[in-house]
């Protein structure tokens, strides 16, 4: 049941070297640099996103993900959900408005898989980048690299998938769109949605908590994914796998790494989900096909290269 959470709104990633990271996220993936703050953080977004930013980069000693934030409908929803998060047993912290430039008060909370999440109701809206909201043209002329349209979702690794599923379903109103079940009936992967997308966030079972697998950016077409592959070779960027298709969600995809080892994905297409749909199930004996539909086998790196 929908609880007033709208969409994944931002992700803060730790990088070892800011200039190298900007060559990746801004110049290669094609995100737009929107702002910088006095902590040295850099704010970016995909050109179609209406809010001011969706990706925040922070230089640190240890790459990985600080948090993912979800935007909620309004402050009343924010109040309501804050109470429910406390009741659920989360550690809840208030982050004052302005701690991120242009973002209102954030409610930060932990999760059974060890990841940090946030809810917020307000963020400055600068509009789609480079085009007007009246009689808008198809796209702006001067996009860079892969011309990613938006931050779409992320995949996280951790232990207690059931606990995090309960939190996302019961408190935040997400639906389980797709899952992978092992032979004992244990869920080892869960793809959750708050929209009609096949996933707004996903989790895979892993012995170590609070790990980050990838942040994903949306492209329009398969041709764009192939062009992304060319750009990865042109720039000698570290490739993981692809271009290929996922069985899970059926998205067409390529995986590669930023210069600090955080995995990126650009993808197009994929299934849709409505609240009356039963979850789509894959079984672990078909895991190769579920993850990489064409190769039909997992590479070791997909399961172990995490930040």
């Amino acid at each position: 049941m929908k609880k007033g959470v709208m969409r994944p709104g931002h992700i803060q990633l730790r990088v070892l070297d800011m200039e190298e990271a900007l060559a990746h996220y801004r110049d290669l993936i094609g995100l737009i640099e929107m702002d910088r703050d006095d902590q040295g953080r850099v704010y970016l977004k995909g050109w179609t996103e209406v809010d001011k930013f969706s990706v925040v980069l922070r230089e640190a000693d240890e790459p990985g993900m600080d948090f993912v934030g979800f935007k909620v409908l309004n402050n009343q929803v924010l109040e309501q959900l804050q109470g429910e998060l406390v009741e659920f047993g989360c550690q809840v912290e208030n982050i004052p408005a302005g701690e991120l430039n242009g973002c209102g008060r954030r409610v930060r909370f932990d999760s059974p898989t060890g990841h940090m999440f946030e809810l917020y109701a307000d963020k400055e809206q600068t509009g789609k980048w480079g085009i007007s909201s009246t009689n808008p043209d198809a796209f702006p002329m001067d996009l860079k690299g892969m011309k990613a349209t938006r931050f779409d979702h992320c995949l996280l690794y951790g232990g207690d998938l059931d606990g995090t599923l309960k939190l996302f379903q019961q408190v935040l109103g997400f639906d389980l769109a797709e899952q992978v079940m092992d032979e004992n009936g244990t869920r080892v992967a869960q793809f959750l949605t708050i929209s009609t997308k096949a996933h707004d966030i996903a989790f895979i079972k892993h012995p170590e908590d609070s790990k980050f697998h990838h942040a994903s950016f949306y492209l329009e077409t398969w041709e764009d994914v192939l062009r992304a592959a060319d750009l990865i070779s042109i720039t000698d960027t570290s490739l993981d796998i692809g271009p290929t298709r996922h069985g899970l969600t059926h998205g067409k995809t390529i995986y590669f790494f930023d210069p600090s080892g955080n995995r990126s994905e650009v993808f197009c297409g994929g299934d849709y989900h409505y609240p009356d749909h039963e979850p789509v199930t894959w079984t672990t004996d078909q895991l190769g096909k579920a993850i990489f539909y064409h190769d039909r086998k997992l590479n070791e790196r997909f399961l172990t290269a995490l930040t």
Partner: protein, 125 residues
């Protein structure tokens, strides 16, 4: 019929390793991987891990190639290298002092003797 991989292995067993190639300006160094009983040549202008990949060797596990995932963790037993920033989650200050490194973040500056396969997943209990 010999596969490419076998041809490479034969070459490595029979040929005396050369420490520099005459036709390129960057240096090439010999890297011995003691735990794999093998060796490869690595260029000074590429990270040790990418150098290994370019020499078609599989003696160090390849992950992100960016110093984040820890899969390429090795210990340098002898030789000189320069290093870029490495994830503290995988190389503590203590380990760094003991020449544990991420192969994707070091650049060889002499022949090296290394021990690979130092990556472990740490379950949090």
């Amino acid at each position: 019929m010999t596969t490419t991989a076998q041809a490479f292995n034969t070459r490595k067993e029979q040929q005396e390793p050369r420490c520099s190639s005459p036709d390129v300006s960057e240096q090439s160094y010999l890297v011995q991987v003691v735990n794999r009983d093998s060796w490869f040549t690595a260029r000074s202008d590429k990270s040790l891990l990418v150098g290994m990949e370019l020499d078609a060797s599989q003696t160090i596990a390849v992950g992100c190639r960016g110093g984040g995932c820890g899969m390429c963790k090795i210990r340098v037993l002898a030789g000189k290298y320069d290093s870029k920033r490495m994830s503290r989650a995988h190389i503590s200050e203590q380990e760094q002092a003991e020449d544990y490194v991420l192969a994707c973040r070091i650049y060889p500056r002499s022949d090296l003797v290394i021990e690979s396969d130092h990556f472990t997943v740490k379950p949090e209990l």
